[in-house]
Symmetry: C2
Subunit: 205 residues, 2 copies
């Protein structure tokens, strides 16, 4: 996580500007030149970093999901998902950079219904998170990463997380609701339990 290739963190930095601009001006009204100017790099470099304009937000969307996957990697086999998240979610949401990224992501998710290009970026980000989750599930279920049941389980959990994220984001941004960490945690636990085909939610060792 911390020693990731510096190209990745450069991409993430640009991605934050793109996410902000898409939120402020809308996707169509934001050009590659705008993103480059905001990030203080040349337009050419924007297209070296990202294969398309919508892909510019993928790192910001991905990083929240990925950080959550990284958290799950620390999930001890002796604990249930409820126990683990109850004690670790509070600490999880203190990192400042992470909170800012989460807000940016939430704002993107809230406008998904009118921005198809952003939805495709979101789905791509979820797909990468899913790939990451396969490792976590395989480890916890003591199975291989090529096991179909493992991949199915990771896909279901990712789909469940995606729905929770979309739902909460829309509620917060579009309906002005406020939600507590506990509510979010409860929602996530429910989603993971619903999506888990394999018996990984309770203590496995």
């Amino acid at each position: 996580m911390t020693d990731e290739p510096r190209l990745e963190s450069a991409r993430l930095a640009v991605s934050r500007h793109a996410a902000r601009l898409f939120w402020e001006k809308g996707f169509d009204a934001t050009s590659g030149d705008d993103i480059a100017a905001a990030a203080g790099i040349s337009t050419r470099t924007v297209w070296r970093y990202f294969r398309s304009k919508e892909a510019c937000v993928e790192p910001v969307l991905k990083v929240s999901e990925l950080r959550f996957a990284a958290l799950l990697k620390q999930w001890p086999k002796t604990e249930s998902i409820d126990q683990f998240l109850a004690r670790s979610m509070a600490a999880f949401v203190t990192d400042d950079a992470m909170v800012r990224d989460s807000i940016a992501a939430v704002r993107i998710l809230a406008v998904l219904h009118r921005e198809p290009a952003l939805r495709s970026a979101w789905l791509m980000a979820c797909h990468e998170a899913e790939v990451e989750l396969v490792g976590v599930v395989a480890d916890r279920a003591s199975r291989g990463v090529d096991d179909f049941a493992v991949r199915l389980c990771a896909a279901s959990i990712t789909a469940a997380m995606r729905l929770v994220d979309e739902e909460i984001s829309s509620a917060v941004i579009n309906d002005g609701l406020r939600v507590s960490t506990e509510e979010v945690t409860a929602r996530i636990v429910l989603a993971i339990r619903a999506g888990a085909i394999l018996p990984i939610c309770d203590a496995v060792a």
Copy 2:
């Protein structure tokens, strides 16, 4: 299905050409002009039909998933998923146009790993299929379409179907394997049962 707006079927016709060209020449080597020429329409109309080049294949990818969702709509409440698919899958795969679309879709799925643009089109198509599935699940579970558990169930099933489709497509095209209708049906039943959070797989009435 049959009396869909004629704009939709025009889009589908163009989409078939796009899918063929992407398969034959690759995504990057196929231009909007190529698609227009193959479909016998002006380039301008291509961009009226589709918001982007990758979106050109969405109808072909969507139609197989959607037809399957339509099949599930006929699933009687007195039958289990195993019973229903065992007797209806054979008839399902006889429609000629459908078989051709399925082959086109399978070819797209087989090259997903090297064509990120096509993956995003595929994920978008799956998302639309998911929306359609929500109705089926809601009906069978006797719940509303806004029920979170219903949407969760539809998302899980869609994710499972997506994995099955990707897996089988890659096996058939990349590894030259041959699979029978029975094997595919068994795979799908397994996936649906795995993804179904709600008790909809067995007779509900």
